[in-house]
Point group: D2
Chain length 336, copies 4
Amino acid sequence: MIVVLKQNAQQESVKELLEWIEEQNIKINVIRGDQKTVLALVGDTARVDTDQIYSRGCVESISRIQEPYKEANRKFHPDDTIIKVGTEQIGGGTLKVVAGPCSVESEEQVTEIAKLVKASGATFLRGGAFKPRTSPYAFQGLHATGLTYLKKAREVTGLPIVSEIMSIDHLDLFSDVDVIQVGARNMQNFELLKELGHCDKPILLKRGLANTIEEFLMSAEYVMAGGNRNVILCERGVRTFETMTRNTLDLSAVPLLKHLTHLPVMVDPSHATGIPYLVEPLSLAAVACGADAIMIEVHNDPKHALCDGAQALTPDQFDHTMKAIRRQAAFQNLVL
Amino acid sequence: MIVVLKQNAQQESVKELLEWIEEQNIKINVIRGDQKTVLALVGDTARVDTDQIYSRGCVESISRIQEPYKEANRKFHPDDTIIKVGTEQIGGGTLKVVAGPCSVESEEQVTEIAKLVKASGATFLRGGAFKPRTSPYAFQGLHATGLTYLKKAREVTGLPIVSEIMSIDHLDLFSDVDVIQVGARNMQNFELLKELGHCDKPILLKRGLANTIEEFLMSAEYVMAGGNRNVILCERGVRTFETMTRNTLDLSAVPLLKHLTHLPVMVDPSHATGIPYLVEPLSLAAVACGADAIMIEVHNDPKHALCDGAQALTPDQFDHTMKAIRRQAAFQNLVL
Amino acid sequence: MIVVLKQNAQQESVKELLEWIEEQNIKINVIRGDQKTVLALVGDTARVDTDQIYSRGCVESISRIQEPYKEANRKFHPDDTIIKVGTEQIGGGTLKVVAGPCSVESEEQVTEIAKLVKASGATFLRGGAFKPRTSPYAFQGLHATGLTYLKKAREVTGLPIVSEIMSIDHLDLFSDVDVIQVGARNMQNFELLKELGHCDKPILLKRGLANTIEEFLMSAEYVMAGGNRNVILCERGVRTFETMTRNTLDLSAVPLLKHLTHLPVMVDPSHATGIPYLVEPLSLAAVACGADAIMIEVHNDPKHALCDGAQALTPDQFDHTMKAIRRQAAFQNLVL
Amino acid sequence: MIVVLKQNAQQESVKELLEWIEEQNIKINVIRGDQKTVLALVGDTARVDTDQIYSRGCVESISRIQEPYKEANRKFHPDDTIIKVGTEQIGGGTLKVVAGPCSVESEEQVTEIAKLVKASGATFLRGGAFKPRTSPYAFQGLHATGLTYLKKAREVTGLPIVSEIMSIDHLDLFSDVDVIQVGARNMQNFELLKELGHCDKPILLKRGLANTIEEFLMSAEYVMAGGNRNVILCERGVRTFETMTRNTLDLSAVPLLKHLTHLPVMVDPSHATGIPYLVEPLSLAAVACGADAIMIEVHNDPKHALCDGAQALTPDQFDHTMKAIRRQAAFQNLVL
């Protein structure tokens, strides 16, 4: 950790800072430049709260050399994490496809889509029962009933189910859901993350709309610090000035995350772009650069879709895309 | 609302769309261009869920002409909302200053700061008991104890208190807090917003780090749709590519919000910039362009601050800033 | 084109606007809503200058339905443009790799790298003679001498050369360069673009750091409007809040551009990310989602690199990456 | 300057790096941490080209402690720069207002506007003769003729004139223009900046749409390194995800720049927001936080404006805004 002192820093304030740092069992190297003095701190600085240093009147800036995440850090856990979901797994040289409607609308709808996506080769069924909607007047999901329909679709098809949680209060309802999704808007809902750290379910954590890779890993760290090491990271686009796509899919996040962490990485091109014809090429790109899983939105009856239908593929389009994904996976020797 | 149809849209799909729209009591004008056909919808389109239109296979894009927010919309509520907090008020030709530490650390600390900021002219005391921290290993606040200390400081000084809530589960703890703050990371925690819509406390809603003005107003709408019309909007910086300041303070949001909504607008230059010497000039700028309130972070003992001390003013700096704010307020005939 | 009128628009101002629009041979449909009036314009609106409409006191907002670019638009030119460079070509079912040093430093350096990248399978040689550097004190390139060295390397290896132009004044120096590159910082240097529209060389146009896809295509349109239809578009990352990578590579731009325009699309993962280990996976991703060409920075002697060496691959790394690219290209039946 | 070495850095590569650094007369402090080794460099590191360090295989990251700009740096030039323009000045406790049309359209138009804005209290006349337009089909300005009209308006009113240059080739045409503007899209047109460094005219440098404050100062440094120290910096909004305003005006840039540099700072709320009713409140905010000058777009005949009229004030609106600016300036004891 590098601490730059202010040019006009008071001697006493600096002395107190040095004492405080040494109390944390951190070794200090003082480097005096022409204009500024720099402290180079050596030791287990990942646990040091930079705010406690920043708050000293004498400090100008701080930069970390060590990453602030430990459980999620590949340096300390070199082997890929493989997440078991029933007889399925995510990570470890496999490629999985999570497909389904944005929102569960009826038992028939979700069962029908589940059968179709399974026939095309999807390995997980997704479906929202609690929907984060920008407008309070928009359809917010079928809640408990939606989860019941999703479970019925699992019964019929055998596909494990993935659904988004929006509040600690709903945790009981998710006890029989296979993978619990934390949406982009809740990536830094730290109270929710802490609670999920105490359960044993796989957590699918989506990257926030304007969150850095480091913040993304720190949110995974929240879950892992609670004891739950089953975290799947999902890149789903970030906000930029571009208006043609809904968000800007950051595929560089895939190889970057695979380098920094041992956790599996999923990509969601449907929500990232909001444009159906971009889903197939970007799914292939995601696989080509190392993604462990792809999430694709599929609906069977677009004219009755109650939310976010714009980016969903029809079952036929999904089937076409799955065939292309299978070929790419086979070419890369990935088990799908 | 303008709906652009795809060039190769199927007749039947278009027909079904037209029928569905008419069922919503919306009048349709069909304009056929050389390349594309456009539907111009007339009626109460604010309640129309655009996703239900988007999901049709035949739709290329949609743009709203009417704003999707009603309760927060100045068009339907031309008069400024004035929010009463005990004997204090926010909005309506007054200027209020909310000051205090990032985090409540001890009864002595918060009481001492409360006395100092009151002496300088602050009208509200802020202090965090639940802290949203990027790292699970960082200090997370004193929780219930922190709120108790804050109330003691209110007892001593008479200043109404403002504190951030992070979970629905903590709502009971906030029953005696004067103003409940929703932080930037929870601006789209819709379950929390809905719950706050059912209480009668003033809600201080901070703009999310990457949220548009319209999304900001839609989050206010969530609270208001539940029946709680006491919402204060707070601009606190958005994420950009700039790295010198923590965030980029968007002061254009102030006159823009004053134009679009009747709700009072606060500005927080401390968190927006993270740099103490920017707090005074940006506070003055905020007042000059119409802000109803300013939030400033103050600590008395930076060397023991447990969080976010970097941007806090010392009591002396705060006193200097308050004098400048008072002069600007007097110049603008604002009651402070 | 959709024009929304202000609620309080003056009759006379609206009347004048309607007359002006009709003079442009555009048909107007007037739709009166409860709150606002909307004009839907039908005809060849691509040539209409929206600013001339905006400037009327009565106009609130304008949105285009038709794209404002014509020459670059796939709708009017459905077939892929293939760009001939000597015996080489870019576009049309081929995959090309442009490789070389950021900056030409000596005849030996560039010739040595040229031989190495050719041996690995590169099809074009890149090298900067004029370097856009943020600091006036940094190395700015060898200028004319650099171009001479580059031509020598072409003589030895037969590889066509690509180099960046920074000023109209240098155009003569580029008369014997095979492909003229316009860098990201000059994407909206319209005077330069106009001038390049009058030459017959292929222009490699890099996307600006914060430019939308539409602006990117409009800059291509500047060159094409002058008569030069040989434009190659290059995605090289955009600015976001992320700090771990230099920029955020927007791979969704590849299939989006292939849909909107007939021009060939290149991807530069070296400059986009600034991190060597991301170059190979993102090159594969770019190919998988439809890129026609990849640009990769390679140096042979990093310790003497005078600029931007951070993201360059060593010849060994490049050879490894080329092998992977070849396999992916063969899998997709692309001629490399 | 802090250089972090890679964990697996080769001994020899590190040795060569250390030797190279010492050749630059920089002292090196080596700090060995548990995981990584850090070099703290002491000396005149502002001239060190970080790319030459980065390019070494052994380097992971570099961060500067000293600013890379010298001429523009307030540390080395503590006193405010005052820029003389005829009998006028910018900077040094004054407040100046630059007003006029986006584009010069006729002698009558610009003379008429010049008279009106002068009557309201403007101190400089602006008007574009060369217009950077996104579309090649849009009006590009009257070029030399436009400058002639502008000079006529100066003759009539005595107001010094400001106009934008877009190419080195037009430099002769600007020999009699009082202040030469470099637009946002040319902020990093380094060849143009170098050329302007050799003339003796005041340069009004606008911040690029996605450029950091440091890059902005480095572009000023380009001009100043050539010998021309008369640079005025203009904040005019940066690109964000917000779509309601054209750009996001970054007013924190004003006190930040005043702290970092001795150069005068202007603010352009017209182009930043694109919304007339935001111009007055943001002008006042800009003055309140320390701006030396304001630029406001004014047209007299909006229905014939040939470009960018949307954000322009009418002469009446401008007069209202000038009165408010005058009051704020008087309150701050600024000479207007």
